[in-house]
């Protein structure tokens, strides 16, 4: 099944994307598969482990090219993670690949104990995450994965927004010496601005203003003493970032200033970037393809509150309800993850 078109819902959103010069890339899933194959071709120590998921994971070409560097376990996610851990414990750079809905629920205990607690440098790759399989029903949604993994010690959680971030995240994971969870979807993504600047795990990227200044680091910076200079910050993750970017550009046309962060590393959280947004922006909106309980929004909120910062605040994501079904684009629109939805959220916060 080919990746669906980017979920830019209205002619206005499409026009703004064109105006910003955003070009259509491909699915992060495909970028992942190609990057992994390139790395594995050069490094025979890299092994992919699949649970009848090489097709879903776009790893069929990898499997053909590198048959000795892929392990098929059948439809058995617990075994998938255990085997991945065992390979990693014996010096292999193992990537366990399966849809995030199964991987982070059925085999959560294996992730927790065999990989994170045992501290082996394995990579757990949750593909088709969030509501990538939106129309298939809640069995196939992973709106819990960030929450459960945030609550497990010793794992870096990476949720890349575009092809550039995906490529960099895979490279980071391949050289990491501790557990990594990678999460992405299967829709074709737009290339976001900022690919000319380095990607660093644990450091959020400023996607807007385009070419925006680098973020301050640490606490006690000069900006903390000043009144907010920006109206709203969108702190977004993964496939929602492009919608936050369009909302920011849309708000600019109404004279509202915005900052967009791609929070590609959910854990460890870039607290410096979050606190800077809380100090320098009148309102903060978090955006995630995840249930708001335990997700990115709550991570950001707790960081702000514990630093004594209380900007106007709204978490956009999936509420605790029987999730509406439909294509990912339908669900994003339904839950306000769109240029128009996020613009309206900002307007209402700033009133």
């Amino acid at each position: 099944m080919s990746a669906p078109a980017p979920s830019l819902f209205t002619p206005a959103a499409k026009a703004l994307a064109e105006k910003l010069g955003l070009k259509k890339g491909r699915a992060n899933l495909e970028e992942f598969a190609d990057t992994l194959q390139q790395l594995a071709t050069a490094d025979k120590n890299i092994v992919a482990v699949t649970s009848d998921s090489r097709g879903s994971g776009k790893l069929a070409p990898y499997g053909k090219a590198l048959p000795r560097q892929i392990v098929e376990v059948g439809i058995a996610e617990q075994n998938l993670v255990g085997i991945t851990a065992g390979l990693a414990a014996c010096g292999k750079k193992a990537f366990g690949v399966s849809p995030s809905c199964f991987l982070t629920a059925r085999s959560l205990e294996q992730i927790k104990n065999d990989i994170c607690y045992s501290n082996v440098p394995a990579v757990v790759v949750g593909i088709s995450s969030g509501v990538s399989y939106g129309a298939l029903g809640s069995t196939h949604h992973s709106l819990h994965d960030l929450a459960v993994l945030r609550a497990i010690h010793n794992v870096t959680i990476l949720v890349p927004a575009d092809n550039f971030e995906t490529r960099e995240a895979v490279k980071f994971a391949a050289s990491a010496t501790r557990p990594v969870f990678l999460r992405f979807g299967k829709a074709a993504m737009l290339d976001l601005p900022g690919a000319d600047r380095p990607f660093e795990a644990g450091r959020a990227r400023v996607i807007y203003p385009v070419g925006g200044s680098s973020l301050p680091t640490g606490s006690g910076n000069v900006a903390s003493k000043l009144a907010p200079t920006t109206d709203v910050a969108f702190i977004a993750t993964g496939e929602t970032v492009v919608h936050a970017l369009l909302a920011a550009a849309h708000l600019a046309e109404a004279g509202i200033s915005a900052r967009v962060l791609s929070l590609h590393t959910v854990k460890p959280l870039d607290t410096a970037a979050v606190l800077a947004a809380g100090r320098e922006c009148r309102a903060v909106v978090t955006v995630e393809e995840h249930m708001v309980a335990g997700g990115v929004g709550e991570a950001v909120a707790s960081t702000l509150l514990q630093a004594g910062l209380a900007p106007r605040f709204k978490m956009v994501g999936f509420p605790d309800e029987d999730t509406v079904t439909g294509a990912q684009a339908d669900l994003f629109r339904h839950y306000g993850i769109s240029m128009e939805g996020l613009s309206a959220t900002a307007h209402s916060l700033l009133q």
């Binding site: 059948g74 058995a76 065992g86 292999k92």
Partner: protein, 298 residues
């Protein structure tokens, strides 16, 4: 080390396991005593690993899937010199690394286990890594019979024979008791030999307290197949009032019970030292456990 020497050592190891459990105020006494002879055999005869080679990439791997019986493993590994015996006086104490299940913070421990049904899949990954690299090391795990109710074992059982992992050995501590009672009453799992054979494994059944039989079962090659050794054992083995008594699954001996257990083990050791043939009679006591036989050809 001869079978007789292993037999003599087993008394001291059992005593150390009991004193450390007593000191910890917690532990899995019955299962520890049932698997102790298997662990002593592995570390003193079978595994190609020493305290000096714990970081060697080609060392044999042992992952204790039934992690709750770590006290027996602690006693065996301390005796073998992986860490100081005095460390075992801290088991389960505040901030001690020696917690109630294996962790890699302790020298020589391969993986953190304790949740059941995890060891075999991990060992599969290790055995696959050895095959990929052309390394000759072997991978061993110890399973509990109650543990076999965990479905992940059967996922791994399927995959191990699919990949013809003849460098993988799973040993079952078949003591037939679990926390609630007899395994056959809690969740019947027999016939285990037929099940594992049907999954494509070489299956061998032995008395799990008989070093010679265990050695033969574990070390005889099994080309093209993973090996499942059903080690018939006695829960609480070696202490009269603990043998086959369910409450000793995680019972901690009182001062008086510890004294009685230590005295029994010392007396038995004296007999064994005087009469090397006492080993045979000790095995004889549990002859109902069955003689060595290979069922893979049936």
């Amino acid at each position: 080390m001869t079978d007789h020497q292993l037999h003599l050592k087993s008394f001291a190891l059992r005593r150390r396991m009991l004193t450390l459990i007593h000191g910890a105020g917690a532990g899995h006494t019955g299962g520890g005593l049932s698997c102790l002879d298997i662990l002593s055999l592995l570390y003193n005869r079978v595994l190609r690993i020493t305290p000096e080679t714990v970081d060697s990439p080609t060392r044999d791997r042992y992952v204790q899937s039934k992690g709750h019986c770590v006290e027996a493993l602690y006693a065996v590994m301390a005796d073998r010199g992986y860490f100081p015996d005095a460390d075992l006086d801290t088991v389960c104490h505040y901030k001690s690394y020696y917690v109630g299940h294996p962790t890699r913070k302790i020298r020589g421990m391969e993986m953190n286990t304790g949740a059941l049904g995890h060891g075999l899949p991990i060992c599969l990954g290790m055995a696959l890594a050895a095959k990929m690299d052309g390394d000759a090391f072997k991978v061993f795990t110890l399973l509990g019979d109650g543990e076999l109710a965990e479905g992940s074992n059967w996922e791994a059982a399927m995959a191990a024979s699919h990949y013809k992992l003849d460098n993988l050995v799973a040993i079952l501590d078949h003591n037939t008791l679990q926390i609630t009672g007899h395994t056959k009453d809690v969740m019947s799992n027999e016939p285990l030999d037929e099940k594992w054979r049907a999954f494509g494994w070489e299956v061998r059944t032995v008395n799990g307290h008989d070093y010679a039989a265990l050695t033969s079962a574990i070390t005889t090659p099994h080309p093209g197949k993973p090996l499942f050794v059903i080690a018939n054992t006695v829960k609480g083995k070696g202490v009269s009032f603990m043998e086959n008594v369910g409450k000793w699954h995680h019972g901690v001996p009182s001062d008086a019970e510890l004294a009685q257990a230590l005295a029994e083990l010392e007396a038995a050791e004296k007999v064994a030292r005087i009469d090397p043939n006492a080993r045979a009679s000790a095995v004889g006591q549990t002859s109902a456990l069955g003689s060595t036989r290979s069922t893979s050809q049936q």
